[in-house]
């Protein structure tokens, strides 16, 4: 064992040196975000009977499926609000941070041949994996501690020190668990892309398992790491066992990953690479064929994901309906709102969530053009009889079509599952059509990415930050009562609340024109600039 870990610490220092900007930036943004939101709560939710009414609305299954189980309802203090509204979301962000960092230092370094150089030195076989886990464990611990202290120092009503440490602890444990699971997936696959896909797929599955479980089955939620950690009931009960169990599971997963790591060959996955066809199929005959071939796994994988997501939310329709019919509060306080329109609101909320998720694979496709350039593969096309417009156009066309497919598949999944549990949940044709109103908005993001790739390729990754912002502004816009201009800065902020509101053709036209202008500028820029790599 000792032999396997020789020189782990110098490698850990190397990782810290390489991420000396990235890790502090993650920690600082997470800390500032959590503390700033908590600090805004006293004003948003003044004590009094209104708060109890708000508490009742959070028992709505539709909201539970998004935010996690409601607890501490009888005495809904700021701590309970904080945990209920913020913990799950922050946990997901921490999980994303861990997945990205873990892949970067394991499978990606291996794929790039960097680990080979390291392994030729007197370094243990497990040293790199161990160093990565060590750095991530420390990062998560520091994050947990910072957030705990930050929240504790605020000293708000219901947010005592114990609860604050549980809040920070929940984040740290979640981060560690997803670091461990990513390390595990990195042993199975040969490429960092596939490892990334497995890791994010696992995160998505955890979220959906919890969404369905929180409403209909406690066991299902306990199977999801996110659901498990939420059972700590931070700020209300402060149970330790969920955090302990998750920590234990993370440790076991790490050991399993280590074991796989020592048994496999360097740069190999668990499954050997298969042989392939010796001739190209007829489809692989031009740049478009190439893009479809390269991106087919991404597109199919996401489409399945969108279908499952839609279906998961569709499956809770019956609970939402029951809730509306049985809730005295809804009957008393909101007598005008019939059950159907609560469901309608639920559908509208889900419909507004779909384009943000549909934007991810669309952006992956268009930003692949930049990745290809960096890898030095664009020149294979450009050195042959292919114009730059053809090259970028193929990526753009695929990205645009991807956005449409994802949106439709998501709605179909929702409808299919919903109609299985409720009779006639919503009109499919009308909803499909009105959900398409969001597509030009997704295309604006694609156009923005195209503009970056065409004119400022180094800035292309910033589009992800913008997508993150649009998610933040939309998802938290109403929860945190953010100013209206923040939503106006996103393409979704200008969309009608479909299918409840009618779609104005002018809105569609305006977004469409903007998207086309951005893409055209991108194409022109791409045709004019030097290609690097």
């Amino acid at each position: 064992m000792r032999q396997l870990l020789v020189n782990t610490f110098p490698l850990a220092r190397l990782i810290l040196r390489r991420d000396r900007v990235q890790i502090p930036l993650w920690l600082l943004s997470l800390l500032l975000f959590t503390v700033a939101v908590a600090a805004a709560f006293p004003e948003l939710y003044p004590a009094g009977p209104e708060r109890q009414i708000i508490a009742q609305t959070f028992t709505n299954p539709a909201l539970i499926s998004m935010l996690g189980p409601a607890y501490g309802i009888h005495n809904y203090h700021l701590g309970a609000i904080m945990a209920h509204q913020m913990l799950l979301f922050t946990m997901v962000v921490v999980a994303i941070m861990n997945i990205l960092l873990a892949i970067k230092h394991t499978r990606r370094d291996e794929e790039r041949g960097r680990i080979e150089v390291i392994r030729s030195l007197p370094v243990g076989r497990l040293a790199n994996a161990a160093a990565t886990m060590l750095v991530l464990a420390c990062t998560n611990a520091v994050l947990g501690l910072l957030v705990s202290i930050g929240l504790g120092l605020l000293g708000l009503e219901g947010m005592d020190w114990t609860g604050s440490f549980f809040f920070g602890g929940a984040l740290a444990v979640t981060g560690l668990f997803f670091a461990a699971s990513t390390l595990f997936f990195a042993q199975l696959t040969e490429t960092s892309r596939t490892a990334m896909a497995y890791s994010f797929g696992f995160l998505g599955l955890s979220f959906l398992l919890r969404a369905v479980g929180d409403i209909s089955s406690e066991t299902l939620s306990l199977l999801s790491p996110l659901g498990l950690v939420l059972r700590a009931q931070v700020y209300v009960e402060n149970h330790f066992w969920p955090l302990g169990t998750a920590l234990l599971a993370a440790s076991l997963l790490t050991l399993l990953a280590f074991r796989l790591n020592t048994r496999r060959d360097l740069e190999a996955g668990l499954f050997p690479a298969k042989q392939g066809p010796s001739r190209a199929s007829r489809f692989l005959g031009g740049p478009l064929g190439l893009v479809l071939r390269l991106e087919r796994t991404t597109i199919i994988g996401w489409a399945v994901g969108m279908l499952v997501l839609g279906a998961s939310y569709g499956s809770v329709f019956a609970d939402v309906e029951d809730f509306v019919q049985s809730s005295e509060l809804y009957q008393q306080v909101l007598p005008d709102i019939a059950g159907a329109s609560i469901l309608g609101q639920f559908v509208a909320m889900l419909l507004s969530l779909l384009p943000m998720l549909a934007a991810v694979p669309a952006l992956l496709v268009i930003l692949k053009l930049r990745a290809e350039e960096k890898a030095g593969r664009t020149e294979h096309l450009l050195a042959r009889a292919v114009t730059r417009v053809q090259v970028m156009g193929s990526f753009l066309g695929t990205a645009l079509a991807t956005a449409v497919v994802m949106q439709l598949v998501g709605v179909l999944g929702l409808w299919a599952a919903a109609s299985a549990v409720v009779a006639d949940p919503f009109p499919l044709g009308h909803t499909l059509l009105s959900s398409l109103a969001y597509v030009p908005a997704v295309w604006i993001l694609v156009g923005l990415a195209a503009l970056c790739v065409g004119t400022a390729p180094k800035a292309a990754a910033l589009v992800w930050f913008y997508l993150g912002y649009t998610f933040f502004a939309d998802y938290f816009g109403s929860l945190l009562q953010l100013p209206a201009w923040m939503a106006r800065l996103t393409p979704w902020g200008h969309m009608p609340n479909v299918p409840l509101e009618a779609v104005s053709p002018w809105t569609v036209l305006a977004t469409l024109v903007l998207a086309v202008v951005l893409m055209t500028l991108g194409l022109v820029g791409y045709s004019k600039r030097d290609i690097y790599g």
Binding site: T191, S278, L284, G286, P287, E379, L382, T387, D530
Partner: protein, 294 residues
Amino acid sequence: MAVLRVNNVTKRFGHVTALAGINLEVNQGEVYGFIGPNGAGKTTTIRILLGILQATSGSAQIFGLDAWRDAVEIHKRIAYVPGDVSLWPNLTGGEVIDFFVKLRGANHKSRRDELIERFDLDPTKKCGTYSKGNRQKVALVAAFAADADLYILDEPTSGLDPLMELVFQECVQEVKAQGKSVFLSSHILSEVEKLCDRVSIIRQGQIIESGSLKELRHLTRTRVRVETAQPLPSLKELPGIHDLEEFPSGAAFQVDGDKLGDVIGYLSQFQILALESAPPTLEELFMHHYKGAE
């Protein structure tokens, strides 16, 4: 007739001048060597020729067309092998070759299969599992399967084994025999010496020497070893003599190309018994030029 003409091309990346006014001219049916140390600007030149980079000033023309503006028209008639061949890891070598051939709009199945056999490549393997040499073979097969008028090859053999290097040299000679032109950037001087009609040497973004190998040799020194019947007086004072070694029976030295006649004339007074003279190898030429300006 010139198929490739580079006229006073300069390329700047920000404040860095990668190419400072270079000139090149490749004639039809000619194999042209382009040699220079790492970072001299070889690949930058080739990328400008391919219209992947735009020259800051000057003009680069292939077949009389502008390398940047008419890139696609030009590319229908050229074949290119990059120095660092990066391929799609999840596609097989066979798929990539077919794809490249199709992109040019041509279909040369028989030639493709013949070349795959000659280069001893397994086309069913995924590119991610290929070694550097095998990735290079994929690019070479795709290039030579194409019926091009000009082949632009950027250090195409840096990963090949000696046997495959021979196959490569055969391929170059075959296309040359068909009257095609080849622009070959290389580090392997024996290869350039064997294949090329003319050569340009680039250093720090400038062409420091151009011409046929014969012409270039004239510019440099010849190595001479001589034995004479009568003892030689010291040759130290003679103009154009370098690296002189004197033995009791003769001497060995290098002599500047333009002084060779004078020196031999002088030596003949002492009854030459044996005379060896060797033209400088390309390697010596190369070293001479690289060290020259340090």
